[in-house]
Amino acid sequence: MISTLIEGVPRRGLALLGALLVALVGAPLLASDYLIAVLILILYFAYIGQAWNIMMGFAGQLSLGHALYVGLGAYTAASLYVHFGIGPWLGLLVAVPVAALASAFIGFLAFRFRVAGVYFAILTIAVAEFARVGFDHLSWTGGSGGLFLPVAQFTHNDLWHMRGHPVMFYYIQLAATALAFVCCRALLKSRVGYFWLAIREDEEAARSAGIDVFHYKMIAVVISAAMTSFAGVIYAFYYNNLFPEQTFHISRSIEIILGPIVGGIGTLFGPILGAALLTGVAETLTAALAAAGIDLPGAKQVFYGICLLLVITALPDGVWPWVCARIGLGSRKK
């Protein structure tokens, strides 16, 4: 199993990956609380980016509504906890199927009715927005007034109830991201993965080659949504309050997909690198402007936008493939 996973990966790549993992595991020993908070954000976006990448990068289906699955996971687990005292890990058993079902519904309708490309993207936005307004009116989950979880007491870490210190959340998020990375590699190396790539490159050709396109696109959508919903569960228990306006909003969906596009769509390491770069750039810009004594709200976002513009213009395939070529990792699919 492991041998198939690492087959074809250059030694140097494996060594770098191992070093990165060791560094991340050891990070809380050295890093400040602020750095941990930033790392949690990076890992969070890296994880969702991985999940989104399965749908877009592997199977070629552009979703602009992934906040829907984050929100469904978050709201399901949080409601179960608030109303019935059911912990997040048991809540997962409900939250993941809920998100998977929602995605299966969207996927079924879309692929059945041949909604593709831009139209599919708009459909995903529409459903997410529909859910946002819907949750605004769902009083069982607090409606637009918000859903508040009992606040964590930070005296001890309770992994089972996900109550505790940010470092605990850091390790949960790190484990999830690492696991997602390995899963994606496994998926890509599997039969399903090859079919996905075939569909991504040319759907009609894949169909005439006898691939059940509908079936495999559905698998991609459901796996992606299920993985994303877990991030939602962590989000709910990390922040302890949920508002439909903040959870389902289209700006959240956009935030999610910036990382993988910048990092390199369809690559395994792209979403991780993209998340690190974007969060890193945002934090650096904030610090740099503060150091320069510029207190101008909006200036940071202008520079952030310019950075995005430069990256997408200069490196249309993303940063990771470019880095690969520079550091001599021939294979783009690490």
Binding site: Y119, L123, A126, V127, V133, G134, I261, V302, I312
Partner: protein, 290 residues
């Protein structure tokens, strides 16, 4: 509820829908030809609105009179944007175009925030509060003017594409990119013209909308989303479709607000969008893609 309420709400919904339609028209024109989804559409409109606000505050120039020059400024903006930034992206995948225009949108929103501040701004036209009363029917004057102007602009655009050489050339590009290249059309220039026209449209729409709604830097994204809903409903690339989609969405939201709860009215708009996507993915007025 008395019957005249339904009538008033329906008329209001149709007029608002026409203005929405004009805003969406630009998006439709751009997509129909350049095949790029302009994710910075609403943000471009806020630029026009701020120009109109500035002209009104400084020189007391009415936005309806300044409509043409402002549309011209937006045309230039769109033209340059297409030539400088978007042209290399027309053959790239959708997500790449998406990121490019999201970046443009972020920059626009925050530059406006820096230059104009976060507070809502508007113009105080002398007719801003007028309304016409015809029996039990009360018609909002600004909405009526804006709705009529929307029809005029749309007709002019339609005529341009149907009856001028340039318009025909642009349509040729839209129908057959390679063919247009073969017969020696300057496709890059035509694309830029189209993007400029789309931007001019949304600029004109911004001038009229300013009479009805206030502008803040942050409203852009909401209008972008609204334009999508309308254009997809009416048919991406179809000019009459954009107006009809606008009217349909305007009317649906108005009636849903009246009959159910207004806070959920956008849910009905998104519901219609989903239904249209599923049962008539080319939109109400769109041609079935081959």
């Amino acid at each position: 509820m008395p019957a005249d309420v339904y009538l008033n709400v329906a008329v209001g919904g149709v007029l608002t829908g026409l203005v929405y339609g004009l805003m969406a028209l630009g998006l439709s024109v751009i997509f129909g030809v350049v095949r790029v989804v302009n994710f910075a559409h609403g943000e471009m409109m806020t630029i026009a609105m701020y120009i109109a606000v500035t002209l009104f505050t400084a020189f007391h120039l009415d936005p309806l009179i300044m409509l043409v020059p402002i549309a011209a400024v937006l045309f230039a903006f769109g033209y340059v944007l297409q030539v400088r930034l978007i042209n290399p992206f027309i053959t790239r995948p959708e997500y790449s175009q998406f990121l490019l225009l999201v970046a443009v949108a972020i920059i626009i929103v925050n530059l406006l925030l820096i230059f104009f501040g976060p507070d809502a701004q508007n113009v105080q036209a002398s007719y801003a509060f007028d309304s016409f009363q015809i029996g039990a029917l009360i018609v909002d004057a600004t909405k009526l003017y804006a709705g009529l102007a929307a029809i005029v602009v749309a007709t002019a655009l339609f005529a341009f594409f149907r009856s001028t050489r340039l318009g025909t050339a642009i349509r040729a590009c839209a129908d057959n990119y390679t063919g247009a290249l073969v017969v020696g059309l300057d496709v890059k220039h035509l694309y830029a013209l189209t993007f400029g026209l789309g931007a001019a449209c949304v600029g004109a729409a911004g001038c009229m909308l300013l009479l009805i709604f206030d502008v803040t830097p942050a409203v852009g994204p909401a209008y972008t989303l609204l334009a999508f809903v309308i254009v997809i409903t009416g048919g991406l690339g179809s000019m009459p479709g954009a107006l009809i989609g606008g009217v349909l969405i305007g009317l649906t939201e108005a009636m849903a607000g009246l009959l159910f709860t207004p806070s959920a009215k956008s849910m009905f708009a998104f519901g219609i969008l989903v239904l249209v996507l599923l049962f008539r993915p080319q939109g109400i007025m769109g041609k079935r893609a081959t």
